[in-house]
C-alpha cells in the first residue's frame, strides 16, 4: 500500500483510512521511538500518543511533505517531549544513561549492538533522532531535515558530528 493510497483513504473516510495508516506505520514508528525512549512500556505509551496525534491532526496535513516525513516528525516530537519530561523527574537517571532505562526487553548480552546504543544515548536527544534516521532508516538528509525541522546541510553536519562522537565513545570504552 502506497502513501498516496493511504492519504486518499484518510481524506475520503478517516475511519477507513486510519487502519491502513496504522498497519503501514506501526512497526517503523515504534522502532523509531524505541531507539530514543528505550523502555518497552514507555515506548508503547509514546507510540499510542503519536498515532492519536496523527488521527486528531490529519486535517492539518497539507501534503507539502511526504506522509512518512510528517508521521516521523510527530513521532520524533512525541519522543523528545517524553524524554524531556523523563529527565525532569527528580528520580531521573543522568542524561544518556542507556542502562538506567533499559528493561527486560533489552538483550544486554548482545554486546556489539548494546555498545552502539550506549554510545548513541550519550548524544543530545535531537541528535540521536538525526543519527537514527540516517543510520537505521537510511533516510536522505532532506527528509531528515523535514522531520527534525532543520536544513539538509545542518542535518548532514549533525549526523557526521554524531558519528564521530559515537566512534570516539566506542574507542574510549573499548580501551578501558
Amino acid at each position: 500500500m502506497t502513501d498516496n493510497e493511504i492519504i486518499a483513504a484518510m481524506q475520503t473516510d478517516i475511519h477507513a483510512g486510519f487502519p491502513m495508516l496504522v498497519k503501514a506505520y506501526t512497526e517503523p514508528v515504534y522502532w523509531h521511538i524505541r531507539r530514543m525512549v528505550v523502555s518497552f512500556d514507555d515506548t508503547q505509551d509514546v507510540a499510542q500518543e503519536t498515532f492519536l496525534r496523527i488521527y486528531r491532526s490529519f486535517g492539518s496535513f497539507r501534503g507539502d511533505c511526504k506522509l512518512s516525513s510528517w508521521i516521523y516528525r510527530i513521532a520524533t516530537n512525541e519522543a523528545l517531549r517524553f524524554i524531556e519530561r523523563r529527565e525532569a523527574r527528580p528520580s531521573a537517571a543522568s542524561e544518556g544513561d542507556f542502562d538506567a532505562v533499559a528493561d527486560e526487553y533489552v538483550d544486554l548480552s548482545d554486546n556489539l549492538s548494546v555498545e552502539l546504543q550506549r554510545a548513541i544515548h550519550t548524544l543530545p536527544p535531537k541528535q540521536q533522532a538525526v543519527f537514527n534516521l540516517r543510520y537505521f532508516n537510511e533516510l536522505d538528509y532532506a527528509e531528515i531535515a523535514e522531520i527534525v525541522g532543520s536544513t539538509a546541510s545542518s542535518a548532514k553536519s549533525s549526523y557526521h558530528i554524531a558519528k564521530e562522537k559515537i566512534k570516539e565513545y566506542i574507542l574510549n570504552t573499548s580501551i578501558r
Partner: protein
C-alpha cells in the same frame, strides 16, 4: 572491544531491543481502539459546553417571551379596546354625585370636549 575497520557500518543495524510475539498486532488494535474512543468522545458534547448551550437556550427563550409581551403591549397601546360607547355606559351607571364631580373636574378637558 574492537571497532571493525573503525567504521560504524560494521556494527550493522541490529538492535538489542525486542518485543513479545505478536506484539505489533496487539499494539495496532490498541491504537485503533484508542482512536475509536477518541471519535466517540469527540462526538459527545462536553458537559461544560452543554451547560453553556443550555444557558444560551434559556436566555433566548426569555428574550423571545419579553419580545412578545412588548409587542402585545405596544399593540394594545396603539389601538385601545375601550370605546367612547363604553365610557358612556360607565358614565350612565355612575351616581349623579359622581357624574357632577366628573363634569366639574373635566369640563375644560380638551379631549372630552372634542368627543361631544
Amino acid at each position: 572491544m574492537n571497532i571493525p575497520d573503525n567504521d560504524l557500518k560494521d556494527f550493522g543495524r541490529r538492535m538489542p531491543f525486542n518485543v513479545p510475539e505478536g506484539y505489533f498486532d496487539s499494539l495496532s488494535r490498541q491504537i485503533l481502539a484508542s482512536a475509536e474512543i477518541e471519535t466517540v468522545t469527540a462526538a459527545t458534547v462536553p458537559c461544560q459546553r452543554r451547560r453553556f448551550v443550555g444557558v444560551i437556550r434559556r436566555l433566548a427563550v426569555a428574550a423571545s417571551i419579553a419580545l412578545v409581551i412588548a409587542a402585545v403591549f405596544a399593540a394594545v397601546m396603539r389601538s385601545p379596546s375601550v370605546t367612547f360607547e363604553d365610557v358612556e355606559e360607565v358614565y350612565s351607571l355612575m351616581s349623579s354625585e359622581d357624574q357632577n364631580l366628573i363634569d366639574t373636574d373635566y369640563s375644560d378637558d380638551i379631549f372630552l370636549a372634542l368627543t361631544e
